[in-house]
């Protein structure tokens, strides 16, 4: 019995087998400015994770400073973590990890205005150093004040260098 569908399928499969492997797809356009970073998507994912952790430490430290929870002994850990994130900040922004090529909220300004970006990073590093001092001393009032200063450096950098909705 002649089965047209089966015959057609066999014909197509045979034709495909005889045709050889498909031609390679054309290479994707790489922007002229940024050299591709190996595993750029992984670095962006890592960067977001680190940023998220900074937010969590800020929030947790704030709860302690406000007296929502009685855990002043946890303050140094939060403060040191925030400071450590600042130390690696610049390394988290290599060229090629901006929003033109990656799913990220890092604006092109990070690389177009490097002096201002570095100043924003430096402001964060300075503020977290003060936070560490206050946290290590267990001074809740000083921690409150220092947290506010750190928060303003977060917002200050994001205002210029993070995409807003």
């Amino acid at each position: 019995m002649f089965r047209p569908c089966a015959a057609l399928a066999t014909l197509l499969l045979t034709a495909t087998a005889l045709a050889g492997p498909p031609a390679a797809a054309p290479a994707p356009q790489v922007p002229a400015v940024a050299a591709p970073v190996p595993n750029a998507d992984k670095l962006v994912s890592y960067r977001k994770t680190v940023m998220g952790s900074m937010g969590s430490h800020m929030k947790a430290a704030g709860m302690i400073a406000r007296g929502d929870v009685a855990r002043p002994q946890d303050l140094p850990a939060h403060a040191h973590a925030l400071q450590a994130a600042g130390a690696e900040m610049t390394a988290l922004f290599p060229a090629g990890t901006g929003s033109d090529t990656q799913r990220t909220e890092a604006k092109a300004d990070v690389w177009a205005r490097p002096a201002e970006f570095q100043a924003a990073v430096a402001a964060y590093q300075s503020a977290t150093a003060d936070l560490v001092t206050a946290a290590d001393a267990g001074d809740l009032a000083a921690v409150s004040e220092a947290l506010g200063k750190v928060g303003r450096t977060c917002g200050g950098c994001h205002d210029g260098f993070k995409i807003k909705d």
């Binding site: 977001k48 998220g52 900074m54 937010g55 969590s56 430490h57 800020m58 929030k59 704030g62 929003s99 033109d100 090529t101 990656q102 799913r103 990220t104 909220e105 947290l147 506010g148 928060g151 303003r152 977060c154 917002g155 200050g156 950098c157 994001h158 205002d159 210029g160 995409i163 807003k164 909705d165």
Partner: protein, 281 residues
């Protein structure tokens, strides 16, 4: 005797400068009337909009270049009617459609504070409206659609939200930045507080995904006091200043009123985007 009566009649109303300072912080007077690196309230701050660039004026008590020769009635006319002492309508870069809600005691407090600020002799720069717009007719057309003089109409369904409403719609003028506007600069009230592009201001309606719908009252109070968002990030730029100079200095009761009012507004979803963004969300 007649002079005494006249002096009393024209005396400034009793206002409390310390209260005025708090209102001024919330209203952002210093932010709009101070140039970058300039003397406070002496003017020069440039506000660029699609209708042109408008320059904040000198509102120090300088007699020649500021408002030192004004009477309280001139100040009230400016704030409540949006008109200069000689009757011209102001450009709505000055958000008098919000300040019109201020009552006499609030205006008196602001006036008391303004009068004791240091006078600065700085000449105002002219505004730069877009070609064809530099007419009173253009301003009056906007006023026809966007300006309702006088106190905030009470929300009869939610009388308990009246203080928060006054703070937000009056001196706070949140909608001035956060409510989108149509092509002729009139706020789109059915999308109140749902976010704007120019200036860039997010959706702060209590929409569950597009706004602050997931925030608790505590989250909102922390935001108003510290500028911290529920994920531990912080606001920056203009809003950071509004927090540190404005909402952070309100009384606890006022912060509570404002927080509850914000969470009680109508949730409005974002408009769907026209083109996909590379970035997140």
């Amino acid at each position: 005797m007649i002079t005494l009566v006249a002096a009393l009649a024209f005396a400034d109303p009793p206002g409390v400068a310390a209260q005025g300072e708090r209102l001024a912080g919330l209203a952002g007077c210093v932010a709009c009337h101070t140039a970058a690196g300039g003397e406070p309230l002496a003017g020069g701050h440039r506000i660029t909009t699609r209708f042109g660039t408008f320059v904040g004026t000198n509102i120090t008590p300088d007699v020649t270049y500021g408002i030192g020769s004004w009477a309280f009635s001139d100040f009230k006319r400016a704030m409540v009617e949006g008109r200069s002492p000689d009757g011209r309508a102001y450009w709505p870069a000055f958000p008098y459609e919000h300040f019109t809600h201020l009552d006499d005691p609030a205006l008196a407090d602001l006036w008391a504070w303004l009068r004791v600020q240091p006078p600065v002799a700085r000449r105002d720069e002219p505004h730069e409206p877009k070609k064809g717009l530099n007419t009173q007719a253009a301003v009056h057309l906007w006023r026809l659609f966007a300006f309702r003089k006088g106190p905030l109409p009470p929300d009869e369904d939610h009388p308990d939200l009246s203080r928060g409403a006054w703070l937000a719609e009056g001196p706070g003028h949140c909608g001035g930045c956060h409510t989108p506007r149509n092509g002729v600069g009139v706020p789109i009230q059915r999308r109140a507080l749902a976010g704007n592009h120019d200036p860039a201001a997010p959706n702060i309606t209590p929409h569950p995904t597009d706004g602050i719908g997931a925030w608790t009252v505590d989250d909102t109070l922390i935001f108003l006091r510290e500028g911290m968002l529920p994920d531990g990030d912080y606001v920056g730029g203009e809003m950071a200043r509004i927090v540190t100079e404005g909402t952070a200095r309100l009384s606890d009761a006022d912060q509570q009123a404002l927080a509850v009012w914000m969470l009680g507004q109508r949730p409005v979803a974002d408009r769907p985007r026209r083109a996909p963004r590379t970035g997140d969300r």
